[in-house]
């Protein structure tokens, strides 16, 4: 009597088909081994807002009776494998479906595995992933934040590459041969089988010790009981804002301490305070009121409030004054303005590095850098040997 559970954490709505493909394939492959399963999305923010962290699950059991326990659940309480198909989610996720910031490995069982599709190395990812009391493995499938399966986006085989890695880290749930057969049944594409096999051979697994990882204490939210809750569905208004960092000058709005939304972000703005003309457009146009106004009326994008939409970069009239940079280049939400005040030269060097990084990327959805698809299809797992 064994039940296995797998979660796929993804960016709604862009990666929903990818996640669905992974979870369905797990269940279909498990059938080939005489097991039975279910695949379902976390019923929460649906229709899924752009980029919001979302989850899909697959549960596999030995028989139908054993499976009953999970058939009327929103999500399993623990999973054998957590699959992360966008490495910026490693910083933790906040969603409509749960409250507070959930570490990416929150549901991962002791000695379970977190599989991440990423170009980062394990040490870099461990800076993002919250420390856990129990050991687990971190497995990396080299790859991008794939949009595979979304309308016209190219199939970069991320779905089957993840399955190949899964067969490696959790072979008792479903074996590689069954995945290969399920892949043929669904897609009739031998190249996808090859991709799965290669990912199985190439997946990189690193053990993570208890206490190792991001030490940050994620924010949480206590929900009141019905005796304490305000009646008539009334919640108090947010208080008016005040001076910057509680001082006299500038302005900082009051924000919710328990609902922050920043885990939706896949890119963030970096600000050049020295070329800023104080035109106010970024502050005015930001849909999330994320800019704090400093005493000298500069605008500091608050990373606890920024969803990464990029409107500020669009409306900023000064070249390179506000630049959107891939979120994986950052490890914390610290204030850029405070960094600049503390160490102007250091900040400007840091800023140049980040801007340079963004210039090497093409903002093509689903691909991390120019030519990535070709690179992957020829040198990585995808494609025929000939």
């Amino acid at each position: 009597m064994t039940t296995y559970a797998v979660e796929v954490v993804y960016r709604g709505i862009f990666q929903k088909s990818l996640s669905r493909n992974i979870c369905r394939s797990i269940v279909l492959a498990s059938r080939l081994e005489g097991k039975i399963g279910t695949a379902f999305g976390r019923y929460g923010d649906s229709p899924e807002r752009n980029g919001i962290p979302a989850k899909y699950f697959a549960v596999v059991a030995d028989d139908a009776v054993e499976l009953e326990e999970v058939l009327a659940q929103y999500e399993p309480t623990q999973v054998d494998v957590s699959i992360v198909v966008d490495d910026t989610l490693c910083k933790g996720v906040e969603s409509w479906a749960w409250y507070g910031l959930q570490p990416i490995n929150a549901l991962t069982k002791p000695n379970g595995t977190v599989i991440v599709t990423s170009y980062q190395d394990p040490e870099q990812l461990k800076e993002d992933i919250h420390a856990k009391d129990q050991p687990y493995d971190l497995a990396i499938v080299k790859g991008s934040k794939s949009f595979s399966g979304l309308w016209v986006y190219k199939d970069d085989h991320t779905d089957v590459r993840v399955l190949g890695a899964l067969a490696k880290v959790c072979p008792d749930m479903v074996g590689l041969d069954s995945y290969k057969e399920a892949i043929i049944q669904q897609w009739e594409d031998q190249r996808k089988v090859t991709s799965a096999e290669r990912a199985h051979g190439r997946v990189h697994v690193t053990p993570v010790e208890p206490g190792e990882g991001n030490p940050e204490e994620p924010f949480t939210f206590d929900m009141p009981g019905w005796h304490d809750m305000e009646e008539a569905l009334v919640i108090p208004a947010v208080k008016p804002g005040g001076g910057f960092r509680g001082g006299e000058g500038g302005f900082e709005p009051v924000r919710s301490a328990v609902f922050k939304k920043f885990s939706t972000r896949t890119m963030r703005p970096v600000v050049n305070f020295e070329t800023c003309t104080k035109c106010t457009l970024c502050w005015l146009q930001c849909p999330d009121s994320c800019f704090d106004v400093t005493p000298e009326t500069l605008y500091d994008a608050n990373m606890e409030a920024c969803c990464g939409c990029g409107v500020c970069e669009d409306v900023c009239p000064v070249p390179d004054c506000i630049t959107m940079v891939n979120e994986e280049a950052f490890t914390d939400n610290a204030s850029q303005y405070e960094h600049w005040k503390r160490d102007r030269d250091g900040y400007m060097n840091w800023l140049d590095e980040k801007i340079a990084l963004s210039k090497t990327e093409v903002r093509e959805h689903g691909f991390h850098h120019v030519g990535q698809y070709e690179e992957q299809s020829q040198t990585a797992e995808v494609g025929n040997d000939d």
Partner: protein, 405 residues
Amino acid sequence: MTTETPTQPLETEELISGSEAIARACALADVDVITAYPIRPYDTVMQFVSKLIANGELKCEYIVAESEHSQFEIVKHASAVGARVFTGSSGVGWFYAFEVLAVTCGLRIPMVAMVGNRALDDPGAFGCEHNDALAVRDLGWMLNWAATAQDCIDTALLAWRVAEDPRVFLPCAISTDGAFLTHSQQIVQVPDKSLVDRFLPPYDRGKFQLHPDNPITIAPQVNEDWLMEIRRQTDAAMRRARDVITEAHEDFKRIFGRGGDPFLEEYMTDDADVVLIGMGSLTLPLKVTVRRLREKGHKVGFIRVKWFRPFPGPELLESLSRFKAVGVIDRDYSLGSPLNGGVLFNEVRSIMYSAEKRVPIVGFIAGLGGREITIPVTKEMFEVTQKAAEKGEAGQEIHWVGVRE
């Protein structure tokens, strides 16, 4: 040497959600007219119906109306001219069609609708709650509840068979728990059309069919001289539905080899002292808990109510009289009702008034707004019911289980 005759498999196994299962039932039943208006979780069925039409697997008139009111109006009229119809909604979308829902029964329209059970939009709430479907419980709608994705396809086929029986001609709503059935993919046996054709005859409205060759008027003005007789006729049809449901289930079992008893699904009740009763997908965690408690020697069982209208009164009366205590789980509420209990609780209590022995009946409210009915919650309900059995009385309290105090 023997030669094997190749045979077409009569069922194929697929990994599909309850909503997709119902869409597949539409194709198998060769539905003529489908109307839709999006509201989650019902809207999932729209996606799959559209896909079947686009793939050429379902040929029907598919009309996306401008509101639920029109949506239900259109199928009402289509059914009157002899079309097999399917529609559905959820939560307050269902309520927006209420005027049509009410008159459909008197007109004896065998409309089949899916209700993706949803809370009543206490701002935006979209989790599962049964008050949407239950709101029509007094009007002449037949109501049933599915427990699994397999149940969804099976129950839909049964719904057309019963609703379109000339002895009945009443609308039927299939309740499918939002999220747990509408959004979860399970392994489902999808029958071949040849099997379905053996089970489900074509819809024949006979002398009630609106057609130039059959000049009739439907729905003339009704006043105090006529309405009681009309209601009495609808009442008689609902009473006749009981036998038709039983017949249909027997045929279903014979043809598809699945099903069980028509009105109740009893689980490990044979020697049980204490049972819980409920509807829909909560059946699954309840079965798990029954097994676990039995491993520890507790004589417990579970009864799923499959049809709520017509209400399985005689069946429940006979079944429940043998237990020491009964707990009724409502994924609904009926504020200000007798004992402030849920809808199912009050109905079960009412039918047990004619029992020779007074069995203690405990009321539970659980899983509102889609709150998960977890294993610990089901255990708590068994404990409370067990105590009622020991005391020999249930008291006046209605137990809200899983609410934050």
